[in-house]
C-alpha cells in the first residue's frame, strides 16, 4: 500500500475509531487474530535483536577481507552466505549492515512523527492563518515526488549517515503532519472537547490530555507503514552512493557492491535485497495490523 | 376466501436461502411458499430479520455470498427461475419483474443523471434508441409525479429529495411494464407525509399497469391500505397466509394476533395499555427445535417445543402454521 492509499484509509478510520473506541484488551485480541501482523512483529523483533547483538553474534568481522576467497559462494566453510568481491563475509556484513539500515529506516520516521505530532496538532487545533500558512508550506513539499525530494536533499549535503536520516525525516514530516492535522480537526469537533473547555481546561490541557491520546493510534499505524517504505528508500539512497560511505555498509550499499559480480556471484546482491524486502513487508503488515486494530471494517482486503 | 381467476403468475415453492456465517448457518428463508395472481397485491409482513427482504432478493436471484439459495422453486409463468442461466435471468429483471428498494438516498448512481438511469432499462430491454428512450423516460417521470421531466432528466441524484428519488426509482422499475412488481419497504426510509404519497403512487401504478405486486413492510397500516392478501413471516417461515380482511378481523396465529394487538387503533380509549409481544426476536443461527415462535407464545404446549408446525390449509381457505390453530 502506498502512503497515500493508507492516508485515505487512515483518515477515515481515525475519525471512525475516535467515535467508537473498543477497549484496550479487545484491540490486542483483534491484532493477535491477524496472523500476518503478529508474525511480522515477531520477525521484526528478531531482526532488531540480531542487529543489536551484532558484536556478539556476528561470525566474522564485517570489514575483514580474505583475498583468496573473493566472491566465494554460499556454503563455503566460514562464509555461510558467501563472500563479497573483497572477500568479506556476507552474513556478518548483513548483520552489521542491518543496524544501519534499520536505524536509517526507523529513526527519521520516529523523529518525523514526533515533529508532526507537535506541528499537526497545533495547526489543526488552532486553525486560522497559522494553519493556512503551514498548509501552504506543506503543499510545496507535496509538490515533489517523495523519492526525488529525498535524493535532492541527500544530494545537497555531504554524503553520510546523518544526511540520510535528515533527508528522510524532512520528507516524512509533511505526510505525517497531514494525517495528524486532519485527525486533530476531527477530534476537536467532538462534544467532549467542548465539555472540557466548559470545565475550564486550558488549550495545552486539551491538546495533551484529550486530543493527543485519541489521534495517537492511527498516527502510529501510519508511521509504521511509512517505516516500511523508508527502509527501501533509505537503502536506495545508500545504493546510489548518497548515504553512508564505505567501508561502512548497509544493505543498500551491499546491493550496489554486488553489481560488479552479478553474473558470477549473484548472492552478494540477492541476500541484502531479500532482507530489505522482508523487513519492508513486515512493517507493511504490521502497519496494516495496527490499522485493523482500530477499525475492523478497514481490513487490509 | 375470494380467489382471483386465472393461474398464478408467480409461484414460490419451499424457498430456502441460507447464509454461511462464521458463527453458523443463518436460515434467512426457511421453506417459504406462496402464489401471486395477476393484478393482486400480496403484502408480506414481519419484523426485522423475519426473512421478508431475503425472500424478495431470492426471487430476483440477487442473493450474494455468503448467502445461497439452497432449495425450492420460483415459478414465473411456470418457468423455474432457479434453473435459468444468468443471462436469461438478467433479461427478466427490470423487464418482466421489477423491484423497488428501501433506500432511495443510496439507490441511485451519484455519477449519472437520473434520466439516464431510467432510460438504461428501456435501452437494455426494449432496445430503444437513445432519443426514443429519453422521450419515454420523460413520460414516465410525469407518470410518477415529476412534472418538469424535460429539464429534470439531466439532473443528478443529489439534486433530488428522498421522496423524489424514490419516484425516479419507481419509474425505472416500471419502465418496461413488468407483470410483477416487488416493493421492499418502499416507504420506510421516507418522511411520514411523503410515505402516503408514494404509497398512493404505487397503488395507482399497480392498478394502471395491472401488475401483480409483492409489498414488503413491517407496517400493518400499509398492509391494511394496500394488500389483497397477507403473508405473515416469522424466523424465515410463513406463519399465516390469508386475505387481508381475515388477517385483520380473525387472525389465527398467535404471532399475527400479537402484531395486531400491539397496534394502536383509533377506537382504543386513551387509557388503554399497549400490548407488545413478550420476548425477543429469535436468533436465526441457533433456532431451537419446534415452533420458532414458542418462546414468546402464551398458548404454547409441549408439542410446540418438539414438532415444527407445518403450513396447513384451513377450511376457510387460509393457511396457518400452528398446532393449536389447526386443532381448533
Amino acid at each position: 500500500m502506498s502512503d497515500s492509499e493508507r492516508f485515505l484509509t487512515q483518515t477515515r478510520v481515525a475519525a471512525a475509531a475516535i467515535r467508537r473506541r473498543p477497549s484496550g484488551g479487545k484491540r490486542w485480541a483483534a491484532f493477535r487474530r491477524d496472523p500476518a501482523a503478529t508474525l511480522s512483529l515477531c520477525f521484526l523483533l528478531l531482526v532488531l535483536l540480531v542487529a543489536l547483538a551484532a558484536p556478539w553474534i556476528s561470525p566474522a568481522d564485517p570489514d575483514d577481507a580474505v583475498n583468496s576467497l573473493r566472491n566465494a559462494p554460499p556454503g563455503t566453510p566460514g562464509f555461510l552466505l558467501g563472500a563479497d568481491s573483497d572477500g568479506r563475509d556476507v552474513l556478518s556484513r548483513l548483520i552489521w549492515g542491518g543496524r544501519i539500515s534499520l536505524l536509517v529506516g526507523m529513526t527519521p520516521s520516529v523523529l518525523a512523527m514526533l515533529i508532526s505530532l507537535v506541528l499537526g496538532t497545533i495547526t489543526g487545533y488552532f486553525g486560522g492563518w497559522v494553519d493556512q500558512i503551514v498548509m501552504r508550506i506543506l503543499d510545496v513539499f507535496f509538490a515533489f515526488p517523495l523519492v526525488l525530494l529525498a535524493i535532492a536533499i541527500a544530494g545537497a549535503f555531504e554524503p553520510g549517515l546523518f544526511t540520510e536520516i535528515l533527508a528522510i525525516m524532512i520528507v516524512l514530516v509533511p505526510y505525517i503532519s497531514r494525517l495528524v492535522r486532519s485527525s486533530t480537526v476531527s477530534v476537536k469537533e467532538l462534544p467532549f472537547i467542548e465539555a472540557a473547555k466548559a470545565a475550564g481546561a486550558t488549550h495545552l490541557d486539551i491538546l495533551v490530555r484529550y486530543i493527543l491520546p485519541n489521534i495517537l493510534t492511527p498516527v502510529i499505524a501510519y508511521t509504521t507503514t511509512l517505516i516500511g517504505l523508508m527502509i527501501v528508500v533509505g537503502s536506495g539512497l545508500s545504493f546510489l552512493g548518497l548515504g553512508i560511505q564505505p567501508p561502512a555498509a548497509d544493505w543498500g550499499t551491499m546491493v550496489s557492491d554486488g553489481r560488479v559480480a552479478l553474473r558470477t556471484a549473484p548472492h552478494i546482491t540477492i541476500f541484502p535485497g531479500i532482507l530489505i524486502g522482508l523487513v519492508s513487508l513486515a512493517f507493511n503488515f504490521l502497519g496494516d495490523g495496527l490499522t485493523a486494530m482500530l477499525d475492523p471494517r478497514a481490513r487490509r482486503a | 376466501m375470494d380467489r382471483a381467476a386465472g393461474a398464478p403468475l408467480l409461484r414460490v415453492e419451499d424457498l430456502r436461502t441460507y447464509f454461511e456465517l462464521g458463527a453458523g448457518t443463518l436460515r434467512a428463508v426457511d421453506g417459504v411458499s406462496f402464489a401471486l395472481h395477476p393484478g393482486r397485491v400480496l403484502g408480506i409482513v414481519g419484523e426485522s430479520g423475519s426473512g421478508k427482504s431475503a425472500t424478495a432478493l431470492s426471487i430476483m436471484r440477487l442473493i450474494d455470498p455468503p448467502g445461497r439459495i439452497v432449495g425450492g422453486r420460483v415459478l414465473y409463468r411456470e418457468q423455474d427461475l432457479m434453473r435459468l442461466p444468468e443471462r436469461e435471468m438478467e433479461a427478466l429483471r427490470g423487464n418482466r419483474i421489477g423491484m423497488v428498494f428501501q433506500n432511495p438516498m443510496t439507490s441511485l448512481d451519484p455519477s449519472f443523471r437520473i434520466g439516464q438511469q431510467i432510460a438504461e432499462t428501456l435501452v437494455t430491454h426494449e432496445r430503444l434508441s437513445a432519443a426514443e428512450a429519453r422521450r419515454r423516460t420523460i413520460e414516465l417521470l410525469r407518470l410518477v409525479g415529476i412534472p418538469d421531466g424535460e429539464r429534470r432528466y439531466d439532473d443528478y441524484p443529489h439534486q433530488f429529495s428522498g421522496g423524489m428519488r424514490q419516484r425516479v426509482l419507481i419509474a425505472a422499475a416500471i419502465a418496461c411494464k413488468p407483470d410483477v412488481l416487488i416493493a421492499d419497504e418502499p416507504t420506510t426510509a421516507l418522511d411520514v407525509t411523503i410515505q402516503a404519497q408514494i404509497l398512493r403512487l404505487l397503488a395507482d401504478l399497480q392498478r394502471r399497469l395491472g401488475s401483480a405486486m409483492v409489498l414488503i413492510t413491517h407496517d400493518l397500516g400499509v398492509i391494511a391500505a394496500m394488500a389483497d392478501e397477507v403473508l405473515v413471516m416469522y424466523a424465515g417461515r410463513v406463519v399465516e397466509l390469508a386475505d387481508v380482511d381475515t388477517i385483520f378481523h380473525a387472525p389465527k396465529h398467535p404471532y399475527t394476533r400479537g402484531l395486531l394487538q400491539s397496534l394502536v387503533r383509533l377506537e382504543d380509549g386513551r387509557d388503554s395499555v399497549l400490548q407488545p409481544i413478550a420476548g425477543a426476536p429469535p436468533n436465526l443461527i441457533d433456532l431451537p427445535p419446534g415452533c420458532p415462535f414458542r418462546p414468546r407464545c402464551i398458548h404454547a404446549v409441549e408439542r410446540c417445543a418438539t414438532e415444527l408446525p407445518p403450513l396447513r390449509k384451513l377450511v376457510d381457505g387460509r393457511q396457518v402454521a400452528c398446532h393449536l390453530a389447526v386443532a381448533s
Binding site: 503543499d139 515533489f144 546482491t269 519492508s280 | 441511485l108
Partner: protein, 316 residues
Amino acid sequence: MSDYLIKRLIGALPVLFGVSVVIFFLMQMIPGDITAALLGPMATEVAKAQLRHALGLDQPILVQYVKWLGLVLSGDFGMSIATSLPVSHLVLPKFGNTVILATASLLLSLIVGFGIGAFAAARAGSTFDRATMSITLVFGSIPPYWLGLVLVMIFALTLRWLPTTGMYDVIDPGGVRDVLRHLVLPTIATAAAPAAIITRMVRTSMAEILAQDFVRVARAKGIPRRVILWRHVLRNALPPIATITGLQLGYLLGGAVFTEVVFAWPGLGYQLTSSIVARDFPVVQAAVLLIALIFVVVNLAVDMLNAVIDPRIRVS
C-alpha cells in the same frame, strides 16, 4: 466547472513559486565553495573573488534568487559545471527518455492494475482475491533497484534474452525495435511497485462500490453484469484510483531514478544522480525543478479529471 478549473490553477501558482524557492535554497545549503571547485586548488583568493563577482555570488541571496528565477522563467538554466554545456541541452533530451520509461511503466501498471484489480473486486473474498492482495503487498515492498538487478541477472546475463543496459545497442543502434527491446526489463522493474499499488486500489475501490445499494438496483434492473462493472462501478471507483495513479506517476518520475541507474537508461534520473555525484548543481537544480513542475501539472490534471468524473466535487 471552469470556475473550479481556474480556482485550482490559481492555487497551483503559489505552490510552484514555493517549489522554486525550495530548490534554490536547497542548492544554497550545499557546503563547499563553488569557485574553488571551478578554479581548482591552485586558485588565488583574488581570482576566486573575481569569479564570485562575475557569477553574481556576492550579491544578497534574495537578489540572486530573483535573478535566477527570471532566468529560469525565460528558459535559461545556466551552464553545466561538469560539461560546460548549457544545462537545457543536457536536461531536456534526457527528460524525453525518462518520459518514455515512465509512460511505458504507467501503461503496464494500469493494464495490470485494472485487469487483475477488477477481476479480484468482482470476486471479493475469494481465494484469488486474497492471493492477489498478498502478492501485491509483496511486490510493493520489493526494492526496485534490487528487482532490476535480479531481472538483469536472470534475463540478460543468464538467459541472454534481453540486453543488460542502455537504451540503444551500442554497436548497432536500431530504431524503435531496438529501444523496445531495451525497454522491457527497465519497465518491469519500474512498474512493479506502482502496479501493485494500483491493483490494490482498483480492487479496494471497486469492491467498495460493488457493495453499494445502487449497484444492486442496477442488477435488479436487469443491466448486464459487464455493463454494470464498466459503466457504473468504474465511474464511481475512478476518483481514488485516478488520485493514486497520479501519485504513482510522481513516483515514476522521481523513483525511476533507481531503475535508470541500474539499467543505465539515459534519463533525467540517471542524469540527476551523476550530476549530484559530480557536484554539478545547475544541472541538479534544473532536473529537480523540471520533475517537480511535471508532478504538479500531473496532479492538477488528475484533480480536473476527478472533477469531471464526479459531479459532486464541483459543487464542494
